[in-house]
């Protein structure tokens, strides 16, 4: 038992060392990222014919509460030429009706929709010349991937961007991604955006007016997680071209390559990671020079789940999807043909992410058992636990440093303290729950349980008003 316990301890040290090295890659990049954002103005690009046009694809299922605000936000992006395609995925509520009423949409008699990728046959395409860049596709339910594929079939432009129906993009987010694309147009295949938690922020007119930390504890824990994952992880992975996932909430893709890999895989969660793995595979197998990048200054705000039920369902879903992706692509692991993706990313994700909770829990159990045999061995248990806690905390602090170096979005000293506290409290229950949810997700996969779970939507306005009322009165300008 002791040996297994020691093995588990080494496992934890290795996991965190690998994460730490990825984080050092992030640190190497962070100053360039800061300077790129600080020393650029987008005033010439945002109005220029030279910027490639983009189709924004917004799959919507039962989103009648937030879809209007979301679409209004998307229609006012600072970008020269783009279109917004909302795909109503057979909603049971009045999503389509609400859209049709608000924008006075009428069905197009002859929509020129191609059938490049298989998807559920669409019912109709709605449009209003008064809003020349807005299209709404109505189709029977087929899932998020299916909707994205339908959107690709209608899209008129060479670049596509997948957006969640509850993402609130910053005005400049798309032009910042496009600029990154334009710095390397032929090689860039996909770019991921930064997703931040909007709970607790004051939202007005479709934009985040004041950035604040969430009030409730579930979103607060998630805020620390997202900072670590996006800034600590994705920046580093993308710098060595080993990025395994681009958030479905906000990502930019070359349409031709997405079509070449057969579009999005439907029927199962995890299609956002799946498309990226497919793209890596395609580019590497065809020996094409490419990069899949991450643009942390392009920000999309989203509402994080604030109840145990919704959060656990989301994490189980992620667990399910990740396991399926790993199993479908295990041939890439340790295969030098797939370069960084094969030698680093896939092994890391399989051994240190998917199998993570198992090693930790069995290791913990082994050491508990060992301690129970002879109480003087409590030190070993303590060492194991401390290593888990402290190395994880180092990474959290690293993420906060990255945020402070490049973005400085949290403007109060109290926010910093709150973030530091919650990053510590995470290890007293939340991190363990995360492991549990992942295992539950794996079990669901093995049992072929594929329910989506529901997320109850709250209007952005309600949240904005609630946040505004809660913040202290008028910081006078």
């Amino acid at each position: 038992m002791l040996i297994y316990g020691l093995f588990a301890t080494y496992y934890v040290m290795t996991v965190n060392l690998v994460y730490f090295s990825i984080m050092t890659f992030s640190f190497r990049q962070i100053l360039t990222i800061f300077r790129r954002a600080a020393f650029s103005k987008y005033n010439t690009l945002s109005g220029s014919e030279l910027v490639p046009p983009v189709s924004l694809l917004v799959p919507a299922f039962n989103e009648e509460v937030t879809v209007i605000e979301n679409v209004k936000c998307l229609l006012t992006l600072n970008y020269p030429t783009y279109e917004v395609i909302v795909i109503n995925d057979g909603s049971k509520d009045n999503t389509l009706g609400v859209l049709r009423d608000e924008f006075e949409l009428m069905p197009l008699p002859n929509p020129d929709i191609r059938h490049t990728i298989d998807c559920q046959p669409i019912t109709a395409v709605y449009h209003n010349p008064k809003y020349p860049h807005l299209y709404v596709i109505d189709k029977p339910n087929g899932g998020k991937a299916d909707s994205l594929n339908a959107g690709i079939n209608l899209s008129h432009y060479p670049l596509i961007s997948s957006i969640d129906a509850d993402s609130l993009l910053e005005k400049d987010a798309l032009i910042r991604m496009a600029r990154m694309y334009m710095e390397n147009p032929e090689e860039t295949v996909a770019i991921g955006g930064d997703v931040r938690i909007a709970n607790g922020c004051v939202i007005e007119n479709g934009a985040v007016k004041e950035v604040s930390l969430p009030r409730k504890i579930w979103p607060m824990f998630q805020a620390t997680e997202y900072l670590k994952a996006f800034l600590g992880g994705r920046i580093g992975w993308s710098s060595i071209n080993g990025l395994i996932i681009v958030s479905g909430a906000f990502g930019l893709f070359r349409k031709d390559y997405v079509i070449a890999v057969g579009g999005y895989r439907g029927g199962y969660p995890g299609e956002d990671m799946n498309i990226i793995i497919k793209l890596h595979r395609y580019m590497l197998e065809n020996k094409l020079k490419y990069r899949i990048a991450f643009c942390p200054e392009a920000v999309c705000w989203t509402q994080a789940p604030d109840s145990y039920r919704i959060l656990s369902n989301q994490r189980k879903r992620w667990g399910r999807g990740n396991l399926k992706n790993m199993i479908e692509n295990y041939d890439m692991a340790f295969n030098p043909k797939y370069k960084v993706m094969g030698l680093l990313t896939m092994p890391y994700n399989i051994i240190f992410e998917a199998l993570n909770p198992y090693f930790k829990i069995t290791g913990l159990l082994a050491l508990i058992g060992y301690t129970l045999l002879d109480m003087t061995h409590w030190r070993v248990l303590a060492v194991f636990w401390l290593i888990n806690f402290l190395s994880g905390y180092v990474l959290s602090i690293g993420a906060l440093l990255l945020e402070e170096l490049a973005f400085k979005r949290f403007n109060k000293l109290s926010d910093l303290c709150k973030l530091l506290m919650f990053s510590a409290f995470k290890f007293f229950g939340y991190a363990q729950l995360g492991g549990l949810w992942r295992i539950q997700g794996h079990i669901q996969f093995l049992r072929n349980n594929n329910s989506w779970g529901t997320m109850t939507r709250q209007s952005w306005q309600d949240k904005g008003e609630a946040a505004a009322k809660a913040t202290k009165p008028a910081k006078s300008a």
């Binding site: 109005g47 220029s48 229609l75 600072n78 020269p80 008064k130 020349p132 860049h133």
Partner: protein, 269 residues
């Protein structure tokens, strides 16, 4: 204030203006700068402070009168053009605020290119403007202040620096202006305030671009304001669609403010 005191003050003040007009005639300059400082309940030694500050500027000719009310001062700066008067006003405000605690002066200043313009009525109007200037800014008194009917321009611009500049410039040219920083407020103001001209960006929060132009046409009604677009958008399709939808002029950024003035003037006529 009792009637007697009001009358007393009026005669005192008209005495002040007469003094000033007299002084103007005495000095040889055609160009003269005038500055009024007012501060409700201000300290009475302000006038001597002002004299001291102006004395420290080499080569400056000036005359200072203390007004009847404590804290009000009138200054004559012969020979100074508007920018020089404004600069002296800046100096005065800054140094007075350093020397006097919690001092919030209300200022109005002007420069007149001919002596004949300076009449007691004009001076009294100018001092009135100073007294009614409740903002922290120095008010520049121009011929535009005398206009009874001014054209209305609604400035819609998200960038606060550009918005401020446009408002200052158009105010000085004699237009009455209001500003909005997003599309929805702009549409409300078009309905409520009925401007003669809307000077707008296309990149706004709330509603923007072509849908926004459509809405302007819809809410404009019979008294449709002229629409001048001032924007970074240079895509040809957008420009032509704007013109098709009733936009009167389209100016791209970066822009020449002189050209903008000319185009606005042409649209308003």
């Amino acid at each position: 204030m009792s009637n007697l005191m009001a009358l007393h003050n009026q005669t005192e003040r008209s005495g002040l203006y007469a003094d000033m007009e007299q002084r103007v005639r005495e000095t040889a300059n055609e160009v003269n700068g005038v500055l009024f400082i007012y501060s409700a309940g201000g300290p009475s030694y302000v006038a001597s402070q002002v004299r001291g500050i102006l004395e420290s500027e080499p080569g400056l000719h000036f005359d200072v009168w203390g007004g009847d009310e404590p804290g009000s001062v009138a200054v004559l700066l012969p020979g100074l053009t508007l920018n020089a008067v404004h600069y002296q006003g800046l100096r005065l405000k800054q140094q007075l605020q350093e020397r006097v605690a919690d001092y919030r002066p209300q200022m109005a200043l002007a420069s007149f290119s001919s002596r004949a313009e300076i009449t007691p009525q004009l001076l009294s109007q100018m001092e009135e403007k100073a007294k009614q200037n409740y903002s922290d800014d120095i008010h520049i008194f121009t011929k535009a202040d005398l206009l009874l009917v001014k054209s209305r321009i609604l400035i819609v611009e998200g960038d606060p620096a550009v918005r401020e500049f446009l408002q200052i410039r158009l105010n000085m040219q004699g237009y009455e202006t209001m500003t909005a920083d997003n599309g929805t407020t702009a549409l409300d103001l078009i309905v409520d305030w009925k401007p003669d001209l809307v000077l707008t960006e296309l990149n706004l929060y709330g509603i923007d671009g072509l849908p926004y132009i459509h809405e302007i046409q819809k809410v404009g009604g019979e008294e449709m304001p002229k629409v001048v677009v001032l924007t970074e958008q240079r895509v040809e399709k957008t420009i032509s669609l704007c013109f098709q939808n009733g936009v009167d002029d389209y100016i791209t950024k970066p822009f020449s403010p002189v050209e903008l003035d000319a185009r606005i003037r042409r649209c308003i006529q």
